[in-house]
Amino acid sequence: MNTNLALLLLLAPFIGFLFNIFFGKSIGKTASGVIGTLMIVVSFIVTLYFFGAITAKPEGIHISLFDWIQISNFKVDFGFQFDQLSVLWLLFVTGIGSLIHMYSISYMHDDENMHKYFAYLNLFIFFMITLVIGSNLLVLFIGWEGVGLCSYLLIGFWHKNQEFNDAAKKAFIMNRIGDLGLLIGIFIIGSLFSTLDYATLKTAIAGATDLNMYWISAAAFALFIGACGKSAQIPLYTWLPDAMAGPTPVSALIHAATMVTAGIFMITRLNYLFDLAPDVQNIIAIVGAVTSLVAATIALVQTDIKKVLAYSTVSQLGLMFLALGLGAYEVAVFHVITHAFFKACLFLGSGSVIHALHGEQDMRKMGGLKKVMTITFVTFLISSLAISGIPPFSGFFSKDEILMVAFEHNKILWFIASLASLMTAFYMFRLLYLTFFKEFRGTAEQKSHLHESPTLITFPLIVLAILATLGGLISLPTNSWLNEYLAPLFTKVATEEHHFGTSEYMLMLVAVIGGLVGIGIAYSKYIKQNLVPEEDEKITGFAKVLYNKYYVDEIYDSLFVKSINGLSKFFRDNVETTLSSLVFGLGKVTNEIGFQGKKLQSGSIGFYLFAFVLGICAIITYLFLAQ
């Protein structure tokens, strides 16, 4: 029963994928979209069943299908594991996935390859489910690479544009750098514990007496590199902003809500391993904090609506990593969930705006959409408030918990994180003001076409806005359902009960004030002073550095891409030819010896006789005298 349902859960999107690939074109756009959506809804319903099943059976459900890969000291089977974590992830993957599929039916309706779009989207959900429900690291790795592939396909969906293709390629390759880290982590774990299965691994670690801390730290670090790649942390974050080349719903689903959280999922999954490596945890925390700050600063000056959201995603992911690094896994998970709600909503809202403006993404050419697109505006506002951490929206709770944990551990990290969230509030409201307030700054033609998006687009927005508002309820500071629900996953006793004293309330207050200050600055700049970001050429000073994302792309380009291409050229033009000429040189030497040797055969009998006599002398000497 469970096996069949698990297969249904997994294969429904896959069937959708196959169906859309082979028949999508012939059955028409809407039908292919509907089928794609329905398949995800099926998965969502099955997920609900599993949610119930896990609630009834907290120790989780294991399903093993068949042996997959055999290694000398262990076997990897193709199996699934349903527990609190995977079900939680499944819920929002399939839930938000369904909403975004629905949204896409309308959004992508003008595209000739809509069936392919749905096929890829379904495939993505398939791989995401694989990633989440896999019972061992290698099945996770299938999903891990698979979502990377789908991300590649969807970023490069409009493949006529080579820049988009470049972005897709970049995303795939940067992900693969992380994947290598993950693989190495898997290798180390495999050789240390002779298993890749989560459950076995957990018992192995719990039961082990003399663990090799050095290798465990190495494994944790390698896994963290993998997480960095997938979850866009420093230094592997640059692909995510570029990934915005894909259709907006894709950005919402893959590059905000689901795929990029895979790194957090993996680290949470292996929390018992990371708990053993405090050094790595520190690194994770620092990387997370720094990422959140750096991305936030970049987001301050971006003018592309999706780029702002992309950097905001990176920044929020940084906060989650901060929480992970501090060992507060449930807090990170909490933020993942709320972030999925409000960030999906934001992206879809921006998609709605872009849709209305026929592809315009530059905020400088927007404005005043509040009146026309009421629903989009309201949902967008709610989500912006949520991400800025204003109570009572969901983001407040999750972000506040992260800040609180950070404050407990390290004041500097707390300060960085607070600064990042202050900036978040600023740039989100900058975005909001520039897009929805004041007068429309686009062309007259665009203005005449302005319209609220159809229901298929607004419905997901409304649902997500509601979730973004209420999502915080699952983990109230005093009474956390989420923490209790997740408790069986963690070896450490979940963070000691917060006894809410004054300091905690003070922190909360500081956070809220920070958010409000950010909003206030944005208000004064863009509403009161009525500023509009300047044209690209006029940006100077530090703003220019920020606008150009600290030139990280350029640095990477010249440091890695150029050098490796240069190396390739060097190898191709010099080393290859040298090696080749070496081999030919051997041939030439042989040839030359032959040519010179030919001269010996002069035909002169006298010379032959000399050679003959000398030869006899030599032979006689060898035979009779040499001994």
């Binding site: 055969q601 035909g603 002169s604 009998i605 006599v613």
Partner: protein
């Protein structure tokens, strides 16, 4: 004369035939006239024959002498054929200078 070797000693024969042989070799290398080269070869053959006979006496065994007979037969045949070849070479080239014979050049 049965005890001849007691008086002369086999070494002397060895030295003699070695020197004779070397003279033959020298002739082969030194001269360009094919006829003389042939003669030098005959000298070498005779040097060997001499040694055969000397050792035949030394071992008091007839086999050495038998071999000399055979080698004489071979020498006769060789000279006959060789000279015939020389004659035909001379007819074709007008000279028997071995330096002119360069058909073996590779």
């Amino acid at each position: 004369m049965n005890n001849i070797l007691n008086e002369i000693g086999i070494e002397n024969y060895i030295f003699l035939s070695v020197i004779l042989f070397c003279i033959g070799v020298f002739g082969v290398l030194y001269r360009r006239n094919a006829i003389i080269v042939f003669m030098s070869i005959e000298i070498m053959l005779n040097a060997v024959n001499l040694l055969f006979v000397a050792f035949s006496t030394y071992h008091q065994d007839a086999q050495g002498q038998i071999f000399v007979f055979f080698s004489m037969a071979v020498a006769a045949a060789e000279v006959a054929v060789g000279l015939a070849i020389l004659v035909s070479i001379f007819r074709n080239l007008g000279s028997i200078d071995i330096n002119n014979l360069k058909n073996l050049k590779g």
